[in-house]
């Protein structure tokens, strides 16, 4: 029997002890009870299951956990500091970035991946960076607005 797959999720060590070909999406939801990561299509088209792997945006429905061995996975549950929202989450709350909410975790992680890489992207970069995350409710306009507002420095803000 091979060594079990070990990785970190939201800063915590994790050895789920399941088959290495299980989808990361299922392991997060079913083994770790992190149900903020959603399944929308199961084929990497909609982005509802997007998570960060070492900071890069990835659709977790396409990733067997063998591929995250030794790596750091960030899910939506890892963004708030307790009850204090991160800047992107807060901007989504204040500027209408979430409607039905099912795409929201993936969308916020896509925005985070962008802003971590490019602190002040222009609108074309925002559109491009979010183009792998489908939202059927908003028409994206309030999501762009939320991302723009999240970039604005605001003194009392908590976690990024």
């Amino acid at each position: 029997m091979a060594e079990p797959i070990a990785f970190r999720v939201n800063g915590r060590a994790c050895v789920p002890g399941v088959h290495p070909m299980r989808r990361l999406l299922d392991v997060l939801r079913e083994e770790l009870a992190l149900t903020g990561t959603k399944e929308g299509c199961g084929e990497g088209e909609c982005g509802a299951c997007a998570v960060l792997i070492d900071g890069a945006l990835v659709d977790s429905c396409l990733v067997p956990i063998a591929q995250v061995e030794g790596r750091e996975v960030t899910t939506i549950e890892g963004l708030a500091d307790g009850e204090t929202l991160g800047a992107i989450q807060r901007a989504f709350v204040e500027h209408g970035g979430a409607q039905c909410g099912i795409c929201t975790p993936g969308m916020i992680l896509a925005a985070k991946a962008l802003l971590d890489r490019v602190p002040h992207p222009g609108e074309p970069e925002i559109r491009e960076a979010l183009a792998g995350n489908i939202c059927r409710c908003t028409g994206y306009i309030r999501i762009f607005e939320s991302v723009v507002k999240a970039m604005e420095p605001r003194g009392e803000r908590g976690a990024p």
Binding site: G40, A80, L85, V93, G101, R136, Y140, I141, I143
Partner: protein
């Protein structure tokens, strides 16, 4: 002065949604819960000779439900013609035939593939054209589910006038998948004592309760329905969840265990409802100076294999077919036709986008024939207050479409842009630009006497801590129900937004405020929220607990004291149809809606002559929706609707083969991404409507009506090619251009 109406407080469930804590059906696991799957037919029309359970599967471990297990095999809706599981005859591909449940999803999938449905094929009707031509019979004797006629004035006499030009056209629209990002799903528990309880993704808890009661022949307290967080609906979770709830409940009853069924994307796309495909023929009599004297319209929609909601979709499409225009003579023949395809159903706009597409495209054709500009043909025909619409309804809304048109044209610099594009296009080059326009209305709430029959009820109750809870079955599906209800109640009570909570729809706890459909939640149900709050406040005043000029803290103290000392503090409000609204369903005459929302939409489109791709570059949406309760949510409704309209106009192409959707996945059914959506400039005119809370009318469906015709009209402006069918895919644009070149 309202304190919260007109403001944009954070949506009630925003925190849960941005942290991933919101619980959707697939996030819920009950102890001992097992999974359910559906075995479906592959062929569109057939007699079932037998069902065979193949080898290699431990069938004794699997719960199996067939039609024989069902007490009363019908999905209650309107005509009750649809079975929960096919029995004897299959009427469409993807029709459910057998249900299976087991703890292991992997084993279930093997079992599903091992079921063989042995059939004797029957002749099938697969398109609207074939249904109209009666190439085979899918329903009754003539394939007609329902036929409506509108007859206003004397159409034949108008066409006989010597001074009119007659312009004809035929238009078509394709099916469209709602594509909420959360697929349909339901969990059911059945016990001998409590009956059936279901939790899931839905728009209409009481529709599901009615279906469960009929199928299991149980009273309401034995059929409890609870909504979980719902990841979008757009109509796609109006009627279909009743079937899913029945299926989960049947498996739960037979297995004795909680059962969850969550569709994967392919099953959801292939098997559940979509927007009705349509075909509209227009024949119009118009004078040389552009006055329309008669509209003769033949409107047909493809209802699929069972009647479901098609007659209601048809009536809305039929009434909206003549638009916001003052036409003396109107005849509309409207038919909902049967085909052997999965039933089409509710989708934002509900028949109106289809008939409005045809009319607004046809108007541009008429304008061209007369040498008029597309804004001018509309300007000359707008209905005014006091005029009558096609059903004889006198317009009572305080509306001035002419002024709205001018405002929209000025906002988008219509004339300057058109002039510039005409000049640029004349220079040649690979990209041609154009501007297109659509002007339209959308009726608020149920059609005709629908609201009277619904007789919706809303409650408000005081909580022990002095806050107030709104009790309604209207669902929060992303559009903002919980938020606007709290705003409306807070202002009616004179308390803070945070001191109002909105109950989760649960048929055990909330009254039936009707389905969450038809742009009725804000205006019809919101009015009842306002009334129930006012009535609750009156009880506190009557009890001498609220001093004049009270503040929020005093209200909380009074409410808490009432609950502590006297017990329940509860008020309800029931819908009463205003006396000045009258509808004759037999003659299809009268006040079709209590009010209308009105709009002028403009699209700027670029067509690339190398790729034949049309791209919307800029979009303006001006609408009059009465008082805007929550400007941020309202803008979000418009932008989201426009985006779905752009998808329907350009990308969303359901490909059919043998009555089945071929592109049942997001890889090849293309919806707009963030890279496809232009800037959307949303402008509200607010003319308060006496029938709505603080003057609000309906908003949700309106933005679906305008984009497709505005975009197709812009393509005409850019290229001279008149597309009579959406979606206008590159292939369709290529074909139309080739045809024009001859």
């Amino acid at each position: 002065m309202p304190a919260f109406i007109g403001q944009s407080p954070p949506r009630k469930e925003a925190f849960a949604k941005v942290t991933g804590r919101a619980r959707y059906v697939d996030d819920v696991v009950l102890p001992g819960m097992i999974h359910g799957v559906t075995v479906r037919s592959a062929c569109p029309h057939a007699r079932i000779r037998g069902v065979h359970f193949g080898e290699g599967v431990a069938w004794d471990e699997i719960t199996v439900v067939t039609a024989r297990d069902i007490p009363h095999n019908v999905v209650a809706l309107i005509n009750d013609d649809q079975p929960a599981l096919a029995d004897g005859v299959i009427h469409h591909a993807e029709e459910p035939v057998v249900l299976l449940a087991h703890p292991s999803r992997a084993l279930l999938e093997r079992a599903r593939l091992a079921v063989r449905i042995d059939v004797e094929p029957l002749p099938a009707v697969l398109t609207l054209e074939d249904s109209l031509a009666r190439t085979a019979v899918a329903w009754g004797e003539d394939n007609v589910f329902k036929e409506y006629w509108i007859r206003k004035g004397d159409v034949d006499a108008a066409f006989a006038r010597p001074d009119v030009l007659v312009v004809e056209g035929e238009y078509a629209t394709g099916a469209q998948e709602q594509l909420y990002i959360e697929p349909n799903g339901m969990i059911a528990v059945a016990t001998p004592d409590e009956g059936v309880t279901v939790w899931g993704s839905m728009q209409c808890p009481y529709y599901i309760q009615k279906a469960l009661m009929k199928l299991f022949d149980v009273p309401p307290e034995q059929a409890r329905v609870v909504q979980l967080e719902t990841g979008g609906g757009f109509g796609g979770k109006e009627e279909y969840p009743s079937i899913l709830a029945i299926h989960a409940a049947l498996l739960a009853r037979k297995s004795g265990k909680p059962v969850k069924i969550v569709y994967d994307r392919a099953e959801d796309m292939a098997a559940t409802t979509k927007r009705h495909p349509s075909r509209t023929r227009h024949r119009t009599a118009v004078t040389a100076d552009g006055r329309i004297v008669a509209l003769d319209i033949d409107f047909a929609i493809d209802g699929g294999a069972y009647s479901t909601l098609s007659q209601v979709v048809l009536s809305r499409g039929c009434i909206h077919a003549s638009g916001p225009y003052d036409v003396e003579n109107v005849r509309v023949r409207a038919r909902a036709m049967a085909t052997n395809t999965p039933p089409h159903g509710a989708f934002r706009g509900f028949g109106a986008p289809q008939s409005i597409f045809a009319l607004e495209r046809h108007l541009d054709l008429i304008a061209r024939r007369l040498g008029l500009a597309s804004d001018e043909i509309r300007r000359r025909n707008f209905v005014q207050r006091g005029h009558t619409l096609s059903t004889g309804q006198v317009v009572r809304d305080d509306i001035d479409m002419g002024a709205m048109l001018e405002r929209a044209l000025s906002t988008c610099e219509w004339h300057a842009r058109r002039a510039r594009f005409a000049e640029e296009n004349a220079r040649g080059g690979p990209v041609r630009r154009g501007m297109g326009l659509a002007t339209f209305l959308h009726g608020t709430g149920f059609t005709g006497a629908g609201e009277k029959h619904l007789a919706s009820v809303v409650g408000a109750e005081g909580l022990p801590d002095g806050r107030v809870r709104v009790l309604a079955a209207s669902t929060e599906i992303g559009q903002g129900t919980s938020t606007i209800f709290a705003q409306i109640a807070a202002d009616a009570l004179g308390v803070a937004y945070d001191d109002v909570e909105v109950a989760t729809p649960d048929t055990r706890d909330v009254p039936n405020s009707g389905p969450t459909v038809a742009s009725r939640t804000c205006t019809i149900v919101g009015k009842l929220v306002e009334q129930s709050a006012v009535s609750l406040k009156a009880q506190l005043i009557g009890a001498g607990l609220l001093p004049p000029g009270y503040d929020g803290a005093q209200f909380r103290a009074a409410c808490a004291r009432f609950v502590r000392e006297r017990g329940a503090l509860r008020a309800t409000a029931e819908y009463v149809q205003p006396r000045d609204i009258a509808w004759d369903e037999e003659r299809f005459v009268g006040d079709a809606y209590g009010a209308y929302s009105w709009a002028v939409y403009v699209a700027q489109v670029a067509v690339d002559l190398r790729t034949y791709e049309a791209r919307v570059e800029d979009f303006w949406a001006l609408q009059e929706v009465g008082k805007v309760i929550h400007p941020l949510l309202a803008a979000g409704q418009i932008e989201g609707g426009v985006a779905q309209g752009i998808g329907w106009a350009l990308f969303e192409n359901v490909v059919w083969k043998d009555g089945r959707m071929q592109n049942d996945r997001m890889t090849d059914y293309i919806v707009p991404t963030s890279a496809d959506i232009p800037p959307i400039h949303v402008v509200f005119e607010e003319r308060p409507y006496a029938g709505g809370p603080a003057g609000a009318k309906g908003i949700g469906e309106l933005p679906m009506d305008g984009p497709a015709p505005a975009i197709a009209n812009a393509i005409l402006d850019a290229t001279g090619v008149s597309l009579t069918r959406v979606p206008a895919t590159p292939e369709a644009i290529f074909d139309a251009m080739e045809a024009l070149r001859g």
